[in-house]
Symmetry: C2
Subunit: 192 residues, 2 copies
Amino acid sequence: MKTTDTRLKILDTAQELIQKLGVNAMSYADISTAVGIRKASIHYHFPSKEDLLVSLLERYTPSFFRLVDSILESSESAEIKLRRYCGLFEATLSSGEQDKVCLCGMIGAEVKTLSSSLTKQITHFFQENEIRLTKLLTQGKDEGVFSFSGETEAMAKLIFSLLEGELLIARVHGDVTHFKVVVEQLFQLVKA
Amino acid sequence: MKTTDTRLKILDTAQELIQKLGVNAMSYADISTAVGIRKASIHYHFPSKEDLLVSLLERYTPSFFRLVDSILESSESAEIKLRRYCGLFEATLSSGEQDKVCLCGMIGAEVKTLSSSLTKQITHFFQENEIRLTKLLTQGKDEGVFSFSGETEAMAKLIFSLLEGELLIARVHGDVTHFKVVVEQLFQLVKA
DNA sequence: GTCTATATAGAGATAGAC
DNA sequence: GTCTATCTCTATATAGAC
């Protein structure tokens, strides 16, 4: 098997395990079993767990923003764009076997057990989401489809925190509907 | 030292460690060092980690709702009450040495590594918060100080998810202001 | 109720053969 | 690039003395 294939499988498996269980509950042994490779081989690709986490975020962040930007650059209304943006989060809950949260949300919860360079990567992910949400809300206001009081930047922060929070909460409830209800309520608040 | 004193110290220490680091990063060794007692002595009080977590939630939930209910039962306006409710969450970020999140939010993130009885306790905490927020919002609407479209129950869910999400996010940013900005934006959205 | 001592399992990580 | 073997450390947990 080619290196890149194994490397990819390791990254995919690690990401799924972290999104489900958390950083500190995920182990090289878990990955080893799932990928069908020995622990030592994982260390060949990612000498330390920190290396693995860094690589995970280095592909997750741009990959997530490729999806977000393709939504933003589409020719749809701001409302549809916001719906699709929220859908990216909902998908981690309900796609496939489900029960996952945002990778950065989970790592964010355990941030105090990690290095400062990882903290920077998570911070960056959060900030970039706020920037894009601000852009989206501004477009909606300009179009006349969104209307709300307060600063647009503050509203962007509020929406992002609500999405990250809902992933955690809806998953505990084992109820994707809980997530959908909150997203619908969000639209009640922003719709002109 | 009396049993109850040691037991209390263990619970207090475990709670602080979990709110900072998470369930799976907290160990009996950590508690042992902080309390000044041997690991085996902790097992006398809490045979298993599961026992410790259950006891933690058994005192956290009623203790939190005593605070919430004293706010709800006060004679203040719904707006002040909601501010004080949000303040309970903000306090975990900025009181004392700070950098903690909601105990149930943290355990909720790691819920897939825990027993179903713990999941039930977390679910209960979430639901009871939604119930109280619904009551608070209803009072505000009746008073004429709150006004928003959509269902009151959905709004309560939205507010709770935003608060749990903000605890995580503001802590990663190392910035309590981020939390405050979102809470102010929330008031922009609900104020009549 | 707290201690020492220990059991058992799992973690992350490395050396060196193939 | 993957393996076996092993190291070191830490985890949860128990037995039994004091």
